[in-house]
């Protein structure tokens, strides 16, 4: 009976995860254009991929976006978590306020921030109407800056979750150790830098993996906020893959880019899952 119960799901996962991964990987070595064809061309599609300036832009953007997104959300989330851990009143209210963006879809987030940052009536308009006449904020339409608007929206959305992960880590620290440190006369900033933050190592790891995962998968946010533009200035690997595959009729290149995305994500996720599972089964 256990086998019978498991088998439909196993079949689905085998086909739709591993079978499809294999299919896409194989496709990336073919010359497929509009339709899948199995004429193998070796690494040709990968060469074309990395010769494509759009893909290079996408990778650069990924580095900027991923780096700033991870650093920004980690620092802000940790900061808020530490503030909330100071035995404050209304803790639940604060936590709820910081976490709610996580319940929104990326599309909604993108649409909101498109409004907030729009150069005509958004933040710039508000600041000017409040008396700061020279205030300009046009990142959304500046090719050089548009990628940062995605960072802002992304950080806004994920910070509450990061905070919750850190808060759980902080609450898990043995209070005896903190008391001992106080008895030993350690000043407060030392307690944080020497005891608490090192003790949060597992939380940092989890946070990093989650953020990296979200960053690499990011698609909806870019589509809704900038449509990848202006021009291709906010192209990310995910948007590149989509347009190659579904609008440019370059299945082979699309498959190659998807494979690159999978490999980079897997190199983060697999070691993490492995270590989590190994410590997991207590019996």
């Amino acid at each position: 009976m256990p086998a019978i119960v498991l088998s439909p799901s196993l079949a689905a996962v085998t086909v739709c995860v591993y079978g499809f991964i294999a299919y896409t990987a194989i496709l990336s070595f073919t010359g497929s254009k509009m339709f899948a064809r199995f004429d193998f061309v070796g690494w040709r599609q990968y060469e074309r991929l990395f010769e494509n300036p759009r893909w290079i832009t996408a990778i650069e953007n990924m580095a900027i976006f991923g780096g700033l997104y991870i650093i920004g959300a980690t620092c802000l989330g940790l900061f808020i978590a530490i503030l909330i851990d100071q035995k404050i009143r209304l803790e639940g209210v604060f936590r709820a306020v910081f976490l709610y963006p996580m319940a929104l879809s990326f599309v909604v987030t993108g649409v909101i921030w498109q409004w907030l940052l729009n150069p005509g009536l958004g933040l710039e308009h508000m600041m000017r109407s409040l008396g700061w006449e020279s205030f300009t904020f046009q990142w959304l339409i500046e090719p050089e800056r548009a990628i940062y608007t995605i960072v802002i929206a992304g950080v806004w959305q994920v910070t509450g979750f990061v905070m919750a992960l850190f808060l759980a880590g902080l609450r898990g620290i043995d209070t005896e150790i903190l008391r001992a440190a106080r008895v030993d006369g350690a000043p407060i900033h030392k307690v944080y830098t020497r005891i608490i933050i090192p003790a949060l190592r597992p939380a940092f790891l989890t946070v990093f993996v989650i953020e990296a995962h979200l960053a690499i998968k990011s698609y909806d946010l870019v589509v809704a906020l900038t449509k990848g533009g202006p021009g291709v200035s906010t192209e990310l690997p995910s948007t590149f893959m989509y347009s190659m595959t579904f609008t440019r009729n370059e299945l082979g290149v699309g498959a190659a880019s998807a494979t690159v995305m999978l490999v980079s994500l897997a190199s983060i996720i697999i070691p993490y899952l492995y270590s989590e599972l190994r410590n997991d089964r207590h019996a």
Binding site: K87, E91, V93, V108, L178, Y219, Y274
Partner: protein, 303 residues
């Protein structure tokens, strides 16, 4: 949400050792920072709501956070029933309904299958069970770009391309990875002796599941339902890839409405549409924030 509040303040009160920045300055700093940050985090939602209640003239006259002098639901009514999305002009309501048609069965099926699978993984030993579980777990984390091309082909072969049942199938397949993990991690905390006792008492596979396990599983059932509901509702990639025309979910329709409209931008309508698309998940968050958070944490594998 009240429960979330209670449990957290209780947790705080139970921590005699947590370090405070003593002195008044410290408290002022802490509350000052928190209040400021809370405002920054709330402002987008507030602005969205306020803007959706204004007319375009008022939007031009005011600013992001100015109150509407005469709140109007005109924008809401328009995007709900009349706005043109693509070539059809029936507003969001049809797409909103599509999302429900997708979410409800996708959630129900994936949670049920996840519960069965989790039960098998937690309580029945077989060779390679941990490896198989690991493989399923990995399925939670793949970038879905890797499956888009073959999935489109499969849906085509099944005759489900562009349809709502097709999208349900996709969401079920990738949802069971998560629900299986949730249930398995919950069920391994049930003492093995309870299963042994049940076997001695003559209970079979299904009797153990339905009579003994399920009645104590409602917290994880809630977590899984909320996780799947919000996940499927908020999905965009599968929706835009596999649903066609009037079968699209509301997220795709929202994006089309906002990003393909011609002429001047009607921000009030954009915001009203975003509010409509966000409302179900916001309501769930408000009603069951505790389970929402538990799902997120469990989704981070730990827990």
């Amino acid at each position: 949400m009240t429960a979330m509040l209670e449990s957290s303040s209780a947790a705080a009160a139970n921590r005699p050792g947590s370090i405070r920045w003593s002195k008044q300055f410290g408290r002022v700093f802490v509350y000052g920072c928190l209040a400021l940050l809370a405002l920054v985090f709330l402002a987008p939602l507030l602005s969205m709501l306020l803007t959706s209640l204004k007319s375009m003239d008022e939007i031009r006259a005011g600013n992001l956070l100015s109150l509407p002098s005469t709140p109007t639901f005109a924008a809401w009514a328009n995007v709900w029933g009349a706005s043109c999305i693509g070539v059809t002009c029936g507003g969001l309501k049809g797409y909103f309904g599509n999302s429900f048609l997708i979410v409800v069965p996708a959630t129900f099926i994936s949670v049920a299958l996840g519960a069965f699978n989790g039960y098998v993984f937690a309580q029945w030993r077989f060779r390679g069970d941990n490896l198989i579980f690991g493989l399923i777990l990995f399925g939670c984390f793949i970038p879905f770009q890797i499956v888009l091309i073959p999935m489109a082909g499969l849906l085509g072969k099944l005759g489900l391309a562009g349809t709502i049942p097709g999208l349900i199938l996709v969401h079920v397949v990738y949802g069971i990875c998560f629900t299986t993990m949730f249930f398995r991690n919950y069920f391994i905390t049930v003492p093995a002796e309870i299963f042994k006792a049940a076997r001695v008492d003559g209970a079979g596979f299904w009797a153990i599941f339905f009579r003994i396990l399920l009645p104590i599983s409602w917290p994880i059932v809630m977590v899984s339902i909320i996780w799947q509901f919000t996940g499927v509702w908020n999905d965009f990639l599968f929706g835009v890839s596999f649903a066609a025309g009037t079968n699209q979910p509301v997220t795709v329709a929202l994006n089309n409405l906002v990003n393909t409209s011609t002429g001047t931008k009607a921000y009030n309508e954009d915001m009203a549409a975003a509010m409509i698309a966000a409302l179900p998940t916001i309501l769930i968050y408000v009603a069951a924030g505790r389970y929402f958070l538990r799902g997120l944490m469990a989704g981070a594998v730990k827990g």
